[in-house]
Symmetry: C2
Subunit: 189 residues, 2 copies
Amino acid sequence: MKPETRQQEIIRVAAKLFKEKGYSAVTMRDLAKEMGIKASSLYNHISSKQDILNTIIIALAEEFTDGMRRIQSSNTNCITKLKQIIELHVKISSQNIYGMASLNNDWMHLQDQRDYYQKLRIDYENDFRAILKQGIDANEIVNSNPEVMMFSILTTLRSLYVWIPKKEDINLSELSNTLNQILIEGINK
Amino acid sequence: MKPETRQQEIIRVAAKLFKEKGYSAVTMRDLAKEMGIKASSLYNHISSKQDILNTIIIALAEEFTDGMRRIQSSNTNCITKLKQIIELHVKISSQNIYGMASLNNDWMHLQDQRDYYQKLRIDYENDFRAILKQGIDANEIVNSNPEVMMFSILTTLRSLYVWIPKKEDINLSELSNTLNQILIEGINK
DNA sequence: AACTTTAACTAACGCTTGTTAGTTAAAGAA
DNA sequence: TTCTTTAACTAACAAGCGTTAGTTAAAGTT
């Protein structure tokens, strides 16, 4: 494993600050202080504040897109695909706690890349919807409102980054299983 | 119904802008422009930007607290209480689409009232947890991880404000029922 | 008619913002 | 050793920030 470059370190620290206060409330001086240098020195490594946000968000969004493509092309039934989606979110979220906050809360502050991000997001949701509808047609999934299903599941998965850090010594594959059970089977006895 | 005061109008418009860009990214000049006046004129009606945020968030947080107290003291089983909680969120969220965004995303920018807000939030979650645990003890609810259950349900309900405006001509009691079915019974056939 | 209140205005203040220019000392390459 | 690159620095800029002071014209009150 290569050691982190100074640029990567800045982006990582920025993501942490963005999670705590949001992109707009974090100043380059805040970020510099956290790095132990002056604000102007940051520009030896990054080109702009905006570019930090781009890097954080687009990398993550593309990771989700890649994951979805892999799941789509797996020859499994829909319930299994949903389980794979849950695992994808648990994996990416647990490895990118800070970045996920920017993805969820600060995407509207993207400029050049905003449209591209929104396209990735819409495509992802369409793929998700298609899996649910196939599941309903194949009689694997109850014939209720697929929009509400998608909203409920996807919202839960998108917020994992808030919740995972609160639970210490959490077992990630156990978390996936519990989520799968609760989201798919419900909580009623 | 009394007509809206100018102060209430400012707070309402502010909440709308806060939803779109977040508290920190909205300037008093943005808000003034949306109101059709100059920034300094806002101060004839409100005392500070911070105070606008206080008003938006605390009013909503207390509305949830009151609702939870009512549900707790209703003599019903736990599954019914959960349904009442879902209805509470659908009602408050649909009536306060903009304010809910501030509550969810900008509470960290509260200053004097931040501790108070966090107490209300923690108490609410504790009450929710207690209902789930009673349900498990009473054999109404499946004996799985109550933390994951609460996270999943509460996250979904807290994000309703994002999703309700996207669906036109939505029937709110139908939405409550569908949510209840999906969150409680799951989606598996 | 004389007054007070309301809600807007212009002008400005002190501070913070993201960013640039130019400099410097150390490390690495020739 | 000499040259180049790297990564920090100080100083500063223009723009924008929340907010205050003081003014004004209209509306409401006595």
